[in-house]
Amino acid sequence: MIVILFQARHRAQAETIRDEVQGVFADAIHVELLPAEAASAWPTDAAWDDMLVVPFDEQPLGDNVNKLIQTRLASQMEKCPVLPVAMSPNTVAVPPDPISHLKALRWNAATNNTDGLLPRRVGALLGLRVRNREQKLFISYRSADGVVLAEQIEKFLGEHGFRTWRDEARDEYDSEASIQAGEEVQKAIEENLEDADMLLLLDTPRASESHWINLEVKFANGQLIPVLPLLFLQPGERRKISRFRVLQSLQRGCEFSPNPSTANRVLSAIELDTMLTEVESFLSEIFQRKLRLPFLVRQEFDVQGYDWNARDRFIYEAIRKNKGSLRTRVFSHCAYFEGIYDPALLAYVQHYIDANPRANYALYIYDGPVIPSAEMDDIISAAHLEDSSDLIILNHQEVKALLHSNFTSKTL
């Protein structure tokens, strides 16, 4: 849930912010307005999409607001980011304590909204969360000419609420011996990228010479980890998008104006803002694609003659009348998360156990790449679900075949 914690004087703007967010994400994201005077605790149980939006101006936030903010900050920022919005950015752009370390989004008095900046930030942060990893932006660079740039970008992104990791290329893997031992390098890269949710590639002149970075880019693309090249050109260099052929073909990137001293370059505020726009747009676009999952699954059920309704925020119930008075009842949970999100799976199993009436079938439908069988066995074992009956865990690509067969085509 996104909570907009507002002072009475900001009620109208808070409602506009709510409308902006719901205009982009519709019913997929719940937005609640919380007046500061009533702010004693988070209004619901913890949820995957928790986020706190705090409009502010030159006046103090008040004890209630400060207390709630501090509670949220203490309970791991990545699980509930705090997004300050400067209502008078020309006079007060820096949030008050305890969030003075965060960069604020800006309210535009002329257009009477945030110009889409807040929904984009929300989409980017939630997009990182549903990847079901550590929500880290990896800044991939070559030490020869990328350190100074990496430091600036790391600081800038941190101030805007993003977790980052400086991923320096391991030049020791450029040796002949390491090149021959390809599997060893690949394994090292796999382990290195385990926590990466996006790769920001500092595409400097020396970066493309690195075997490590070349393989890392290829591997990240293979795993559908979003890769955004930040192309730093030298004077006279004519190039588009990236020095890396695979990234040229994907046609996303951020180009910086030519500069002779890549290694010592100081990035301007405009350049950093442009980069941030590209990063957030990329992540938010990916997230918005994921929100279509329940709609897509519903379509498959509709085709097979089921009536589909939301039983609660967690479970959809599909019922089909068969011959006579027989009915087929199917419970489905459509997970936005990539792969299997253990808390959601366990909660769903419990929901199903507690449900009355019971369903004939219970589906846990996940998104993202199809999970290999061996990995699926590990997930089920880790969740201690080996003895759970009637549960069907499938990628949403497999749902149509299951429904078409009237649940007869399932195998162990």
Partner: protein, 245 residues
């Protein structure tokens, strides 16, 4: 007991994936690149998971995605359910690390360079790719076409046009995924207006072909193809014209 698979087999299918992320100016949605990559990952993952093989011409935008699915979905460590073709116009430029990667993830087949120029020379590029594509299509028994560059600003031949022409010459079932833009969406317009989908010889109903050619929904497109192949295993055994004759 928990169920994690449907009862389906795609053994015997050598499914070609023809296409690429189109030029950005032609994207019909903000994240068209992601749509095509996710489609490719899901389709190739499912095909390999259920026993089929993927054949692809090593386009840089799709190869890492397909290769990753081949590595993770293969049932055994020695099995390589992926065949990648590349012209020596490019394979000769691969450094040992890259060559090693291609050999590790696939049955890697290189075809001769035709012409004296480099990859920027349109004549050398077009002729070399034509030679590669003939060998590539010969290895497939079905083909899925998605996206694809249009090359309106240079003299390069759009790859999916050539590959689709060769595939139709062979008589193999072709599936046009037209909702993700690029050259495929243009071909779809010609198919709908012209000869019609029966020319694709894929066995889908007119309604299914239309859905596949116009839908922007990855799940729906992958489902149509996956379900159809699973329900029609004889498509893998259809006698095909030999391009080598």
């Amino acid at each position: 007991m928990i169920v994690t698979q449907v009862n389906a087999s795609l053994k015997g299918f050598n499914v070609g994936i023809s296409g690429a992320v189109p030029e950005r100016a032609d994207w019909s949605e903000p994240a068209q690149d992601r749509a095509i990559l996710e489609f490719t990952a899901l389709l190739s993952g499912l095909i390999i998971k259920y026993g089929g093989r993927i054949v692809h011409g090593s386009h840089p935008s799709l190869t890492p995605v397909i290769a990753h699915q081949a590595e993770t979905q293969a049932e055994t460590e020695t099995e390589k359910p992926l065949t990648l073709f590349m012209s020596e116009l490019w394979s000769s430029q691969l450094d040992p690390t890259e060559r090693s990667w291609y050999d590790r993830v696939s049955d890697f087949v290189t075809t001769p360079k035709i012409g004296e120029g480099d990859e920027t020379d349109s004549e050398t590029r077009n002729q070399s790719l034509t030679a590669m594509r003939r060998a590539l299509i010969q290895r497939m028994n079905s083909m899925v076409v998605v996206g694809g560059m249009q090359h309106t600003t240079n003299l390069f031949l759009p790859g999916i046009i050539e590959e689709l022409t060769l595939a139709r010459t062979r008589g193999m079932p072709c599936f046009l995924v037209g909702g993700f833009g690029g050259m495929t969406s243009r071909v779809v317009q010609e198919v709908i207006i012209g000869a019609g989908a029966s020319d694709l010889r894929n066995g889908l109903s007119p309604e299914q072909n239309e859905a596949l050619m116009t839908s922007t929904d990855i799940a729906s497109c992958v489902s149509i193809i996956f379900s159809h192949l699973a329900e029609n295993p004889s498509l893998a055994d259809r006698p095909l014209v030999n391009l080598e004759n």
